[in-house]
């Protein structure tokens, strides 16, 4: 596997991982008001493929945030208990936005590396064209 293909493999694995993270983040935001919803999180892991010799990144198993669900006081809510509280989700919108921003930034960095590898490869190929 040539160096430039390795760069593209590593960068695309990074983009896939960041996109998966962004997807979970938007699922969390969409379900911010769903009663009983637990925030989904994913961790990144290093994978090493000996055949291609690329240290790619992959997403680990999806996990649910075990922190306490927020209790909202609304006696008119159909799921409210005798005390007037019901359990909403444990999604923190601020946290999700920050996570999405970080994923976006890392995605762009990966994309930039991919583009640079493509340009470097094409400038090498330009030498052949002369």
């Amino acid at each position: 596997m040539s160096d430039m293909t390795k760069v593209m493999a590593a960068a695309s694995s990074g983009m896939q991982a960041q996109a998966a993270r962004l997807r979970l983040s938007s699922e969390n935001i969409a379900n911010a008001d769903t009663p009983g919803y637990r925030r989904k999180i994913v961790s990144f892991e290093e994978t090493f493929d000996r055949a291609s010799d690329v240290r790619a990144v992959a997403t680990g198993p999806m996990q649910l945030d075990r922190s306490e669900l927020s209790r909202v006081y609304d006696p008119n809510h159909p799921m409210a208990g005798d005390d007037g509280f019901y359990e909403s989700s444990n999604v923190n919108l601020m946290l999700e936005i920050a996570d999405a921003r970080e994923a976006n930034r890392s995605y762009e960095a990966n994309l930039k590396m991919f583009d640079q590898a493509r340009q470097m490869a094409s400038s090498v190929l330009d030498l052949l064209r002369r």
Binding site: M4, K6, A10, G14, D53, V57, A109, M113, A117, M120
Partner: protein
């Protein structure tokens, strides 16, 4: 007649060095959010030309051993950390620092290809072809 093609050889070595370095930098960027990942880089081109410093390589006595030290490309990969890049999750990748390094890679790759192209032009001119 003696053709001194050392300049061409050195230019292609520099291009190979910068593409190997680009692979390492892209891996760092792909792992910008992987817990416990340490940023790595390979030494500058001048040190690879220095024959007096022997590159370090771990001895592999069985085919299943993971190679480390000098990789297949003959470059020594080391951990490097930018000041203040350490995250609480043990990750030491700074996107800004990696972007800076990849710009250096781009520059030296362009330099190598420029020297190569110019030397070829001179050879071609001396042969009387335009």
């Amino acid at each position: 007649m003696e053709l001194n093609l050392n300049v061409l050889r050195m230019a292609s070595q520099l291009a190979a060095h910068s593409s190997a370095r680009q692979v390492v930098i892209t891996e760092n960027i792909a792992h910008a959010d992987t817990p416990g990942y340490r940023a790595r880089d390979i030494g500058d081109f001048a040190s690879t030309l220095d024959a007096s410093s022997q590159p370090f390589e771990a001895r592999a006595t069985r085919p299943g051993h993971m190679p480390f030290g000098t990789g297949a490309g003959g470059y020594e990969v080391r951990e490097v950390a930018a000041f203040g890049a350490e995250s609480p999750n043990g990750n030491s990748v700074s996107l800004e620092d990696q972007m800076m390094r990849s710009a250096q890679v781009r520059e030296s790759h362009d330099l190598a290809l420029g020297v190569y192209r110019k030397s070829m032009d001179i050879l071609r001119m001396s042969l009387g072809q335009r």
